[in-house]
Homo-oligomer: 429 residues x 2
């Protein structure tokens, strides 16, 4: 392309499209109203008098190239960190949350990916690590990481979500992270689990694969053979680089759309069996108590969910134009639609979905909104490609009761006060 200037004819720039005209006008209003904040119409300043004073950081050379061989965020972002619960009795089996309210797009940076560990984070030497595949196979295998990396690879963008995100009792959080920060999304690279299992050769009676982690909890989960032969992966890279220790370095199972603890981290063993292991994490934990006293077991799939991340709890908005933005996801496939209500569920408007909309990945949604300054409640409601619609908390508890802890995918309300302050709509004002 040569300098396009010579082509001229930029009529498009003069003709304002209606939505921009409105949006811009409203943003102008915001500008006019924010003089105190430093924002200003620049008549008399810009018209010949030049830009604002040259800032100090232009007056001397900055930091050297390579001063960080592995980069870190600006010190002005030091508060954008994992959300770690205060005053726990122990932090060996606990979780930290992704600061969803501070993030944009769908990719979670590796440094802010949520954590859930059952025996702390092991520090594993990949040269010493082994994966053993045994049980109902033709040829048991013990694989090194080097050998695992020789298999054909794939890369896919998927979310991972803890099944207790949030628990039914834990919906009094202040921020989006407090409520649903146990979900993150990354580009994963590894080998199809199917490929590795077929290398060993499955016997006809194979029905389950029991995965064991190399952590102090030896976390163990049973995976139905159908999932193992479908989209399950053994992953070693996340957002380009190798897995972080908190995400299972050097090897992790990835079960797209299933509850996070089944994507076993620090994977050391796959035992092919004809029945589940009935391990602690699928009996005492990670089952759903129903009103009649029974418990649902093996409720693997994370149902459709969404949350508005901006504006969200502890943020404050100004009158006029405010883009409503959030994330939606479903363990059943692609998000088909996200509806937003700015009148506490009275009316719903379809939000724009950011391309690409990928299966079992976070999907960013956005809706332009003009806030008139009146108190209200804003909500989002996701529908996935199966037609499943995210329920209200009332609809969910009507079926599931109040004894349940996991798989709470209820619609999340944010209250907007006259001051513009945003708070958790689950909590009485």
């Amino acid at each position: 392309m040569q300098g396009g200037g010579s082509r001229g004819g930029n009529g498009a720039s003069r003709a304002r499209r209606q939505f921009l005209g409105q949006g811009a006008a409203l943003v102008s209003g915001a500008l006019a109203g924010s003089l105190a904040g430093g924002g200003a119409r620049a008549e008399g300043t810009a018209a010949g008098n030049g830009p604002p004073a040259v800032p100090d950081w232009m007056k001397s050379p900055g930091a050297d190239v390579g001063s960080e061989v592995y980069g870190t965020p600006s010190r002005f972002e030091r508060n954008v960190v994992r959300n770690v619960p205060k005053n726990l009795k122990q932090y060996t089996s606990a979780s930290s949350r992704t600061p969803l309210q501070d993030l944009d797009g769908i990719i979670t940076p590796n440094g802010l990916f949520y954590e859930r560990h059952h025996g702390g984070i092991p520090e594993i030497d990949p040269a010493q690590h082994r994966l053993m595949i045994h049980g109902l196979v033709e040829t048991p295998l013990i694989l090194t990481m080097e050998e695992i990396r020789r298999f054909p690879s794939e890369s896919r963008i998927h979310f991972i979500e803890c099944s207790g995100n949030p628990g039914f009792e834990a919906i009094n959080g202040r921020t989006a992270s407090d409520l649903v920060g146990l979900v993150s999304c990354a580009e994963w690279t590894g080998v199809r689990l199917r490929t590795v299992l077929q290398e060993a050769g499955l016997r006809p009676e194979a029905r389950w694969v029991v995965a064991e982690g190399a952590d102090a909890a030896a976390l163990t989960r049973s995976i139905p053979i159908e999932k193992c032969l479908d989209d399950a992966m053994l992953v070693y890279s996340q957002n380009g680089e190798r897995l972080r220790p908190q995400q299972g370095y050097p090897l992790r199972v990835l079960l797209p759309g299933f509850e996070g603890n089944m994507s076993v981290k620090w994977l050391r063993r796959l035992n092919v069996t004809d029945e589940p292991a009935y391990s602690r994490e699928e009996t005492a934990k990670y089952t759903d108590s129903m009103p009649d006293g029974t418990a649902r077991q093996f409720t693997f799939t994370m149902e459709a969910k969404s949350v508005i991340t901006r504006p969200s709890g502890t943020q404050r908005i100004a009158r006029g134009f405010n883009e409503i933005s959030g994330i939606a996801w479903s363990g059943r496939g692609r998000i088909r639609q996200v509806e937003v209500s700015v009148d506490d569920g009275g009316t719903w408007t379809a939000a724009q979905l950011q391309d690409p909309v990928l299966t079992r990945a976070l999907t960013r949604f956005r809706l332009p909104w003009t806030w008139d300054g009146r108190p209200t409640m804003i909500l989002s409601r996701a529908t996935d490609e199966t037609g499943y619609v995210q329920p209200s908390l009332a609809d969910l508890t009507a079926v599931r009761g109040l004894k349940s802890f996991y798989h709470n995918n209820a619609i999340i309300p944010w209250r907007i006060a006259a001051s513009g302050e945003v708070t958790n709509g689950f909590v009485k004002a």
Copy 2:
């Protein structure tokens, strides 16, 4: 979904598909040959004797949840860092490269995104930062970061590449990073430049927008108005979190597909004009000297390019199955095809492209390959959606001559020795 085990019938697991049969067989060969490395068929071990000895890291609890509120890579990955040139006279105007040979997928983690600075890296306080829009506009504006974040936002995955990647003299590097490590790819979030320009209101004679950075070099580039009104963005987030200081924190222009230096970092000023600024970076630098002594100016678009990252220089492969994997990209749009040759260009085979294939983004390609142990040269050749085909170095220099430095998108050859050692095919053996 309930436990799928009861459904039974996993015939698919027994029937090996041909390509897996081959792949697996070959990987088995690799296993048999790597006993010294610890890899082993597990007969007699697995058949009842249980897994390898329990590693030390399972015998005591690991690190606490939240021990890193902002996570970092495993210490075993300490060598996966930016590739910084040795013994430069100064590091204020220099570059560091992404370690492409160590990465998978298409997302570059923020900590490893390549750097190119002309006046070092300024440390900017976002609360003090301003963007001024003036010149041929109806209403000059000075915007705070808070105000910029109120505009309607978008998120898109795009690569950024330095136009000297590599220079024509710099093709003697040892690794993929040495050769073409001045390209990286991320998910960017920000506002369309068009939206902000239309907020100020462009005058009819507007033809160029001159962007200025708030670094010590006040890096300045002229952008044709057509690009400004097309897919250009003002971005503040990268892979979910705010831009890193090395990538322009708190605000950067993003011109998808254009040479990297035009995506002005630390953006402080947009001066709308009727002609280019003819700044240092578009006169003394970033022009292309032709054989006849003339220079091409404003050669904005980065043409289609590809590189095999695995196997690549300094790596070593074993006989048998080796997946060939690499990245391809084009400033003109989507990658349509990547062909790989394993016989020094004698024959070419279409590689698999990993979905999603996105416009002006890295595209991961892969080809299964069985190496017979004979020395050879492996190459990759990208074709983009316009039909443009990545040229050989000979074809490129036949047109461009040898005086040129920028926009070298020649096919990159890797030499495979009988030992399995991989070296730069541009360098005589």
